[in-house]
Amino acid sequence: MSAPLLRCAVASMRHGLLLPEHAESDAAPELEELAATLPEVFGTADPGCLERVAARLGAEQGGGNFSQVLFLSDSRVHVIQALERRAGEALVAVSPSGRSVGLVLSQVQARAAELEEER
């Protein structure tokens, strides 16, 4: 299976803007639109609520902060991956759907690891 086409960029969670030093020169509009949702996605979650839910599920304690959001649609897979070692920044990625979601996620995680190594 060939690797799915993946476009990605780094964005500010607080401002919802792509960070120019990590954006491709022709950053796709869908990446900008995905990045624009970050303040809403990350700013409206209640970590305490999520932590209590995780505790009742018997999941290992790890806080209520979330690390990855995946959106599935008929035409695209969208991924938001919080960058652990780059506070306030997230990798946003878009790939055509119809391919393996697992492969898309592997590519996103590999790219996120590279970015964190750069730091």
Binding site: D46, C49, G58, L72, G102, S106
Partner: protein, 301 residues
């Protein structure tokens, strides 16, 4: 009962559907959630009534203003109804032996286990609604030292919340219950919700039996995942499902079908991946229309 949380048509409630009542019930259930884990005893609401709990699950509730008794609910489960004399005979025996009446009715063949659970669910739900409508607040908690109720006849606060939310549209709630049962995977629990036109937030209409969170956390989670779909519309109007990883292991999966939102709360990332796979295979979309293309199975990430 057709499924946990949904009364059968035989138990159509006289309680009017109303966001205000749902909010008031949430307040009463919040008192239960505030008790320590494993709380067993009686939560007294002064002259208004009381709620008996075992391991923080609702076993029995009574309110002064209630009209229907459990024995009436049980009698009316069959056609023709079981005679009042037969029920009263069992009641007399229970009074002298100290056996719970419901379980004695099952033992005598006058009620089935499912029928008893349905009747208890209706009775306890009605009592809690009555306490909520009266604006009652607990004034005493009495700890009981030994458990006396069969756990299969006890209910989580989330189940009662969903029962009240279901009153708005029982058929929709029953369909949501079926959807949850067909989609949830091992190591996941779920809830279905709708959002009204007012600003009252998510109205929980169905939960599976394992759903046992604080009601405020359940409603908060439903509100948040509903917001995820709202923001997703800004970049892709075809988004039909979303998955969130949080903590080190847990995950949420949310999807919509017609006008009902669903959330599966998963105790492991593998469970979240399986739920996403199941949704992808079925091709759930916000519109409820099958998608044009198919989605490949996701490997657990």
């Amino acid at each position: 009962m057709t499924a946990a949380g949904v009364p059968s048509s035989r138990y159509l409630s006289s309680i009017p559907a109303s966001p205000a009542i749902s909010s008031a019930v949430q307040r009463v259930l919040g008192y239960i959630d505030d008790l320590p884990a494993g709380a067993t005893g009686a939560l007294n609401f002064g002259l208004h009534g009381m709620i008996l709990l075992q391991s923080r699950k609702i076993c029995w509730a009574v309110a002064r203003t209630m009209r229907l008794r459990l024995s009436d609910l049980l009698r009316n489960q069959s056609t023709p109804p079981v005679s009042r004399e037969a029920v009263e005979e069992v009641y007399r025996r229970c009074k002298s032996s100290g056996t719970p009446i419901g379980e004695a009715l099952v033992a005598s063949g006058l009620a089935t286990e499912a029928g008893l659970r349905a009747a208890l669910f209706k009775h306890n739900g009605d009592a809690i609604v009555a306490l909520a409508r009266a604006g009652a607040a607990p004034d005493d908690w009495v700890t009981h030292t030994k458990p006396g109720y069969d756990p299969k006849y006890s209910f989580s606060a989330c189940e009662v919340l969903a029962m009240v939310g279901a009153l708005d549209d029982p058929a929709r709630a029953a369909a949501a219950q079926v959807e949850l049962a067909s989609m949830l995977v091992a190591d996941s629990v779920g809830a279905a919700f709708t959002r009204g036109t007012d600003a009252s937030g998510a109205l929980v209409i169905a939960v599976d039996r394992g759903c046992d969170f604080a009601v405020a956390d359940l409603v908060g989670t439903c509100n948040w995942v509903a917001g995820l779909f709202d923001v997703a519309q800004t970049f892709d109007q075809e988004v039909f499902a979303a998955r969130v990883h949080f903590g080190t292991q847990a995950g949420l999966v949310t999807w919509r079908s017609t006008d009902v939102g669903y959330v599966g709360m998963c105790g492991s990332r593998a469970a979240a991946a399986r739920l996403v796979s199941r949704l992808s295979e079925r091709g759930v979309r916000a519109s409820g229309v099958m998608p044009r293309g198919s989605h490949e199975r996701e490997s657990p990430a």
